[in-house]
Each structure stands twice: as structure tokens, then as C-alpha cells.
Symmetry: C2
Subunit: 338 residues, 2 copies
């Protein structure tokens, strides 16, 4: 078995208390000489402190739990990247939980994380139900939401302002001379990412005087933000409307789905139709043509979320939520109209 502190103590002819003091760098309670002795013993035995035992007595596991709906999603994986980066930089570890991998396991996960005594929770990218909130609250550790928020429950969050960002995307199209603009949206019942983006779209139309009094804005709504949703909605759009010159897709995946369908229909982007996306995933620059989109700084969001969490873990206070800046990334899918 692995050597313990006792082995080190015996080997160096000191007590375990001394070894412990040296290990914890208290820099008080031992002489240079014994330190050297002990360090040598540690070296020789290849001793490494047992974090489990430490965790038990300190009540600190140096571990946080991270719950995301789908790592394999490009959005989620970027967030995780950011979270992991600062977490490890700060000497902690992340236990990763993929909440959508097998059914309704979120509550089980929270239970598990609670038993493992994680010191904080990052919950990302999906709706915080009452049950989830209760479970998190019961754990009595700080938690932060990332890329989602909850109006009902008071947890700090890190996200961009979806409405503002959608407004900016729409305004960009308008400034490029487009007048007849449609939106491919997520589920309007989705209060965190669905509705706000639709609202931003509508508001921009209104502000720039493009909302016709006699009709509703052109919003084609799906259930999610996927590539397939993009394809379906775009198909519906084309069937219904022919005079649209620009489309705002509520996600990059949708935008790519739309572009792909447009390609099959022989509609040329951006010459015949302009498309702007949302997220700035890696695929958006790989698209043909490269996709103009509104960026969410995903890695930075992950980092910020972790920083916020650690702040909470240190101070005990629940920090302030953070609105991250969005930004239009101009590439080649939007054409300037004369």
C-alpha cells in the first residue's frame, strides 16, 4: 500500500505531527534540520498526502461539481473548458456530470455530489427546476448558474443578455440594409434562451420602424436550437415567405442548418439571402460561407462562473450575477444591400 504519514514519521524519527506541520508549510514549529530530514524521508518513500483523510478533517474536498446537459455539444464543451481551467488553476478538481446522458438523473447527481462533499456547484445551460434548486440549497454550498438563469430562485448567474444580443444581431442586419427579416427561433416557452431572443428581435424591428402594423414579425419557432431545427424552420420559412432578404437564426447550429438547406434549394448565401447566427461556435468559421454571428464568450463565461463560485466559497456571500458582453463577428454570410 501507499506510505502514510506514519511511515514518513517513523522513517525520519519524528512524530506525525511534525511531518504534518512540515507538509502544511506552517513554517513554524520545526527546525530547518528536521525539515530536511522529513523531506528526505518523503522523497525516499514516495509519500503523497491522502486528500481523502485531509478532506475528512478539514471538511474541504477541494472539489466542485459541474452539471451540464451535454458535453458533446460545442457550446457546453467550451463552457466546461473555461470552468476546468480556473478550477484547476486554483488547486481544485471538477467532478463532471452530464445531466442528459441517461434520462432524468440530475437529482441523483446532486445527491451524489452532496455525499461527496463538493464545495460548490456549477449548473449550466439548462432550466433550474424547483427540485434542482431545493437539492442545491440543501447542500449548503455556493452555486452558480452559467448560460442560464432563474428568476424564481436567487442564484448568481453568468450569461450574456440574450435579448440585447438578439437585438444586436437584428440591428446588424438592418444596418446592412435589410428590411424584410425573418427569425428562426427556439422554443418561445423557453424563458431563458427562447423568448428573450425573440423579444430582442421584435424590439429591434420596432425600434427601426420595420414592424408592419398589419402583421406579426416573421418568427419561425421550433423546439430547440439544433441543426435539424434550423433545417426544418428554414424550409417552412421558404415555403411561406419569398421576399425575405435576411434571416436571424437563434443559434449557429440552426444557422448552419438553414445554410445547408438553402444550398440544396439553390439559394445562394449571402447573395440571395443573408444569414446571421448566434453563439460563435467553432463551426461558424468553418461554414461555407463563414458565418456572421453574435459571439457569446463561452470560455470566458466558464472562467467567470468558476471565479464567481470560488469567491462565494471564500466569502460565504452569494456574489453578484454577471452579464457578459456579446459581440458581432462579421464574416461572410451577411451581404450589404445597396
Amino acid at each position: 500500500m501507499k506510505p502514510t504519514i506514519k511511515d514518513v514519521a517513523r522513517h525520519a524519527n519524528v512524530s506525525i505531527a511534525t511531518v504534518s506541520r512540515i507538509l502544511n508549510q506552517t513554517s513554524v514549529g520545526y527546525s530547518k534540520k528536521t525539515e530536511k530530514l522529513v523531506m528526505q524521508a518523503i522523497e525516499e518513500l514516495g509519500y503523497r498526502p491522502n486528500a481523502v483523510a485531509r478532506g475528512l478533517i478539514n471538511n474541504k474536498t477541494q472539489t466542485i461539481g459541474v452539471l451540464f446537459p451535454d458535453v458533446s455539444g460545442m457550446l457546453t464543451s467550451e463552457l466546461l473548458y473555461g470552468v476546468e481551467e480556473v478550477t484547476h488553476r486554483l488547486g481544485h478538481s471538477v467532478i463532471f456530470c452530464n445531466t442528459s446522458s441517461s434520462g432524468e438523473k440530475t437529482l441523483d447527481y446532486l445527491q451524489l455530489l452532496s455525499e461527496k462533499r463538493v464545495e460548490g456547484i456549477i449548473f449550466g445551460s439548462s432550466f433550474l427546476t424547483d427540485a434542482y434548486y431545493e437539492a442545491i440549497a440543501a447542500m449548503n454550498v455556493p452555486a452558480v448558474l452559467v448560460s442560464t438563469k432563474s428568476q424564481k430562485h436567487q442564484l448568481p448567474y453568468v450569461k450574456v443578455d440574450d435579448k440585447d444580443a438578439a437585438y444586436a444581431a437584428t440591428a446588424h442586419l438592418i444596418k446592412k440594409g435589410h428590411r424584410r427579416i425573418a427569425m428562426l427561433s427556439g422554443n418561445p416557452a423557453d424563458i431563458v434562451a427562447g423568448k428573450p431572443r425573440i423579444d430582442g428581435f421584435k424590439e429591434a424591428l420596432l425600434d427601426f420602424g420595420l414592424a408592419r402594423i398589419d402583421e406579426e414579425p416573421l418568427v419561425f419557432a421550433g423546439n430547440g436550437f439544433s441543426y435539424e431545427d434550423g433545417r426544418d424552420l428554414f424550409t417552412r420559412l421558404i415555403k411561406a415567405e419569398s421576399d425575405v432578404t435576411a434571416v436571424f437564426a437563434a443559434s449557429d447550429e440552426m444557422a448552419i442548418g438553414a445554410m445547408s438547406t438553402a444550398y440544396q434549394m439553390n439559394i445562394r448565401v449571402p447573395d440571395e439571402l443573408s444569414i446571421i447566427g448566434y453563439d460563435n461556435l467553432k463551426i461558424s468559421e468553418m461554414a461555407i460561407p463563414p458565418l456572421t454571428t453574435v459571439e457569446q464568450p463561452l470560455r470566458a463565461m466558464g472562467r467567470k462562473a468558476a471565479e464567481l463560485l470560488f469567491e462565494g466559497m471564500e466569502t460565504g456571500a452569494t456574489g453578484k450575477s454577471i452579464i457578459m458582453p456579446h459581440r458581432i463577428i462579421e464574416r461572410q454570410s451577411v451581404k450589404q444591400l445597396v
Copy 2:
């Protein structure tokens, strides 16, 4: 603070030993009556066993460590998805480490995982150096490699046979009537994913009698497998060769880079040039045109790796390596020549 087993014992008027026995379902050593009593106390107090204390005494943390170079990569995130899925199904947790997030931290990570007493290691998708191997060996827990292998060190791995898969991709092009085929490859010095794919390519050419005696096969080699590599290599290819009718790219990202560049050069895929990729990432079906590619069953590989690891954790034996099946996914980027 959270209630402990002592609180439960006191509350139910029994000893902690009894509570422990009931918790562990030993189903021996207590009566139905006390069980009911204890369960009720647990319920009332909202007691949850402390996994840290359990871990200390059992020497089992129910946690494995997973090291991948870049979660945000589409390949890696799929692997992680699979690993996480079975790990959690088996009641364990995964501590995730992103080895490339900040410099050369792999050794630090391994150290950390060792101190946290993880029960196993999954190391993915990058080269296993001697130092890494030493560190893993020193931990004295099973480890498995996924999407990589090491000939020097005896660790079981889960991966597809790169040479076979590359052979299959090349053969596919040949069967579609192509005779003049180029390859966009990774680094030939990369012994695990670079060279084998090149070898597979060359071998197929040879087997089908397409290797001209007077010249080397057309392999354009880069440093990695990225989109940019794909762009660069494809540009070089076009400058150098004009009579190529098909290209085998050593990764989907490269293939997409190539297609994107082709688009800009007004080379039409697949009409003027066929392209086959490697990996079958999500983006490959989103590409324009949808990319024909050779699939690596990434999630399944992640799952298998985890299963292999748990097998090792139970039996103590180091399991056998597993070669996963590859498969040609036919989409629309390869044209049948008459």
C-alpha cells in the same frame, strides 16, 4: 452543519453501528423494527452519508480520473460523453482534467489525482510519455488509454485501427473509380495517429495497383489535424497537383478545411473533386456538401474504455486492448466516376 451518523443514532436511540449496518443494506444484524426507526430518523434529519469518511475507511473513493487534451474538441467531448455515461451508471464519478488548458500540467494532474485517491485513470487522445507512464504506474491503479496507444508501455487501449481505417477510406475512393488520389495527413512523426493513417493510405494504393513506380504517393503532411492544417495542405496540394480527382483527409476538420478552401477556389465538391474525411464528427453531416467519412465510434469508445477500466478495478488484472470497428459513412462529398 450536516447531520452525521451520530445524530441519526441518537435520534433513533440506537448505536452508530446499527445505523451503519442499515445504511449498507447488509440485511443482517438488525430487526425490521429498528430499521424502520432508523430510516425515519434519517428522513427527518435529511441525513446523507459522508462519502469522504467512507472513502477513508474503505479505501474506495468511487471516483476515476479522466485526462483529455482538449474538451472543447469535438472528438474529445464525444469520448468524454461515453466515459461519463458508464462511469456514472456504475455509481462512480469522474474527475475531469483538461491537460492542454494551461501548459504542461499533465504531471501535476496525475499527482493531484493520486492524492485524491482515484481508483482508475483514463488517459485519452494524446501521446503517453515515459514520465506520464511512470506517474500512472506509481499510482498503482488500473489505467486505460483511449484513442491512443503506447507500444513501449503496457497499458490496455481502446481505439480503432488507424491503418485499417485509412486503408478503408482510400479503398472507398478507389472503388468509386478514382485513380489519382492525394492524402492530407497529420504529422508523420506522430506514431499513433499520423504515420498509421499514411501507411494505410499507401498500402491501399499499392494493393490496388495505383502506386506509380516512378514517384512517391501524394501525401501532404502537416503538424496536426486541424481545420487550418486542412486549408494549408489543400492549398499546397492544388498548387502542386492538378490532376487529382480525390482527396483523403486524415480528419474531418481537415476535410472541412479543404472543402472550404476548394469552395473559395471555385473547385466544386464532389463534381470536380471528391473528398473523404476521418472521424465522423457532428460537423461532417453539417458540411456542404455533407461529408463522406470513416466513422470512429467515439461514444462507444468512451464507454468501452470505462468498462475496461472498471473490469480492471474489479479483477485487478490489466484487461485486453480493444480495437473498435470503423465504418464508411457515405454522404455526398465523394462522386462515383464513370
